[in-house]
Subunit: 422 residues, 2 copies
């Protein structure tokens, strides 16, 4: 494995004059040249253009100091084609950058290239391979974003999550991943799948890098210097616990013990039935909305959809508005019930994924340990550092309170340090 | 004035065999040919194609039975260019239809053409003229949609509202206009201005036509056959009452008296301070979001923006995330306070606009009597039938409870009938 690039450390090196943006662009371009043939993290990349862009004047003025950033290929960019993981959009050139792309640029980030996505961020896999073992999936749908950071090709990458598309690949690739509170980052210019769920997120080497990038991009306070008290954590395995592998259980237990040894108060918590019920509502909401969001592609280009997506869209058309409304009410009740259940805790500690990355590239794994938290709109952070029986990464997930993203990242960093010190 | 086309009556005529979809397409094409030079309702229209489309087989199968529908030009269409009222997008051809366009097509509507919009649905006027008096504005931003229905060119048109862009032009043009509950109709493929506020809406000749179209397009129950009890109405003039003209006050009073004569219970209600406070939050939320939604256009094409939009975007960049969050909290508190304040009422009766359509085409009028209701996410209906001192239409607005759109339309129809019977 190549060493990962810390966004925070690189920006600090630029600020103190030890590195220039051009040095960093070179380093990224070299890493991509060395490993991209094996990994396949990019849907569009131009290494010469990246090197040239790193020499542009003024890059050190923004907080991101010219750090190269990968953009998931369902996100519109003017300077790169945006194929959305679909033959329908092969070579498609959007007329405008997505809002998040402009935010990255305003913060001083270099738009390095487009990272591979599953088809429309659904389940049909990309060619991307897991940097920890090329025979395994990197997870999806933000496959290329997670892999590019894990392989040391980029210090930062943008992804999206509708089910588990940030936290799962971050877990499989052993990187820090952050799905913000719903709508913290704008989805304007991101190909929609399910507008009640689609959330723009970030990948970086470690939690401190995520917080640095989130602060730079949003202009919000994500300063983690004050770590605060050791957290009170609700240890949650959910009604789907038996679908987690022994590796996943072992990692979660190990994370909990590490947190306790560092002063955290960890209490096992069974989710209220009203919260568990929302897990099934996710698919109903997603189905109803994607049938509308991808109606044009289904109507005009059905033959160029993957069978898995075509079948899903066919079934999705059968979800009635009444069924959808009922699912939304279930979700609303679950948000209230979760707020009550977690009132005495700072965050939830739970699985990031069902285990290590599955072998092969025919599946990107399952979002069963992510859907509920996406539906609740809560900030989620994957904490890396643990490994499973095959030696592949197994992340654990910190879920914070809606709108309290900085606190969630602070707890994730606490946990990351506790695991590393163990 | 040409007579307006009733969607409900035309669909009934097709179902009973008195008219064919081709007859209706012909009638619309003839009306457009006769009046479009004067009105300027369309951004893109092809009358020959419309006539041909009306002869396609199978049109009578959908509930809309081949009725021609106008689509506001900030909404993506494959078959027509989508210029968004901006020189930046002159001749722009989207790769996919917006979700609402596919919904209209699935319901059996003919996509007739693109209706003129102000620049990105903001304030810079179109060339569209008011069908009731060509020297007056039709209102904005859904100028062409309102004018096309008012001029008898189309039985139905799709618009959007972020401030007052459905209800205001409906009021000025004397047509029925419906801004649904927030997110009832999907905004996927609609050029975003402010994602917390942008709402897709409908224009038609009368309220029964709106309900018919809403039911056909969404597959939801909008059946108004059971009128129910005469409503309990909260008569609300808001803290901005003195900015309404005597015409607007007279129309609102007249509507209230007509409702009372038909059995409604009408009670004057002062809005709670927490609700009034949300009016100022609208602009903060809109500013913060549009600075991101139109970031690319501002960054790359500033010289092709109108001065009014450019200045607005410049100021909008100064709204901090903290200021935005505070405005969102204000909006949330207002939604709860409004639910309490209106608990004893079926709907609010209030101004649709400040008065008759202003003279000239330099302004599309003010959204000051619409912003608050858009921010609350409540269903709003413009009820036409009254006129001001210059003989131009003055609408009144029915505001229902969030998610109770059918009830709001039912009350609007009650009021429309009461006004007509007066």
């Amino acid at each position: 494995m190549t060493e990962m690039l810390s966004a925070l450390a690189l920006a600090e090196a630029v600020r103190t004059g030890r590195l220039s943006p051009a040095d960093i662009a070179e380093r990224c371009a070299d890493a991509i040249a060395a490993r991209e043939d094996e990994i396949g993290a990019f849907a569009a990349i131009d290494l010469d253009a990246l090197r040239v862009a790193g020499r542009a004047p003024g890059l050190t003025e923004g907080r991101l100091t010219g750090l190269p950033v990968g953009i998931k290929d369902i996100i519109d960019t003017v300077d790169f084609p945006t194929a959305r993981g679909s033959a329908i959009y092969d070579g498609h050139r959007p007329a405008a950058d997505a809002a998040i792309v402009r935010m990255v640029a305003h913060a001083g980030g270099l738009i390095a290239g487009k990272t591979a996505t599953t088809e429309f961020a659904f389940l049909n896999p990309t060619v991307t391979r897991n940097p920890h073992h090329a025979g395994h999936t990197p997870g999806g749908s933000s496959s290329g974003s997670a892999a590019a950071v894990a392989a040391g090709m980029l210090p930062l990458a943008i992804g999206t999550q509708t089910g588990g598309s940030v936290i799962r690949p971050a877990s499989f690739c052993g990187v820090a991943g952050y799905k913000p509170s719903y709508k913290l980052l704008p989805t304007i210019g991101v190909k929609a799948f399910s507008w009640s769920l689609d959330t723009v997120g970030l990948f970086a080497a470690r939690v401190a890098d995520l917080a640095f990038a989130a602060g730079a991009i949003t202009g919000r306070d994500f300063d983690l210097r004050d770590a605060g008290q050791p957290p009170r954590l609700a240890f949650v395995t959910t009604a789907r616990a038996e679908q987690a592998t022994p590796d996943a259980h072992a990692a979660l237990d190990q994370a909990a013990r590490a947190a306790e040894r560092h002063g955290a108060h960890v209490v096992g918590l069974q989710l209220p039935l009203e919260v568990e019920a929302a897990d099934a509502a996710h698919n109903i909401i997603q189905s109803y909305e994607v049938a509308l969001a991808l109606a044009d592609e289904y109507d005009r280009h059905r033959d160029r959809l993957s069978p898995v997506l075509r079948d899903y869209l066919e079934a999705a058309r059968g979800v009635s508005p009444e069924h959808y409304d009922e699912a939304r009410r279930t979700a609303r009740r679950a948000r209230h019930a979760a707020a009550d259940a977690f009132a005495d805790f700072d965050a939830v500690l739970t699985f990031s994924a069902a285990g290590e990355a599955p072998e092969g590239l025919t599946t990107t794994g399952s979002p069963i340990f992510n859907r509920l938290w996406t539906l609740l709109g809560a900030p989620c952070v994957n904490v890396a550092g643990l490994r499973g029986g095959k030696g592949l990464p197994v992340g654990v997930q910190v879920v914070g309170r809606f709108g309290r993203d900085k606190a969630a990242l602070n707890i994730a960093r606490f946990l990351e340090r506790a695991i590393a010190a163990d």
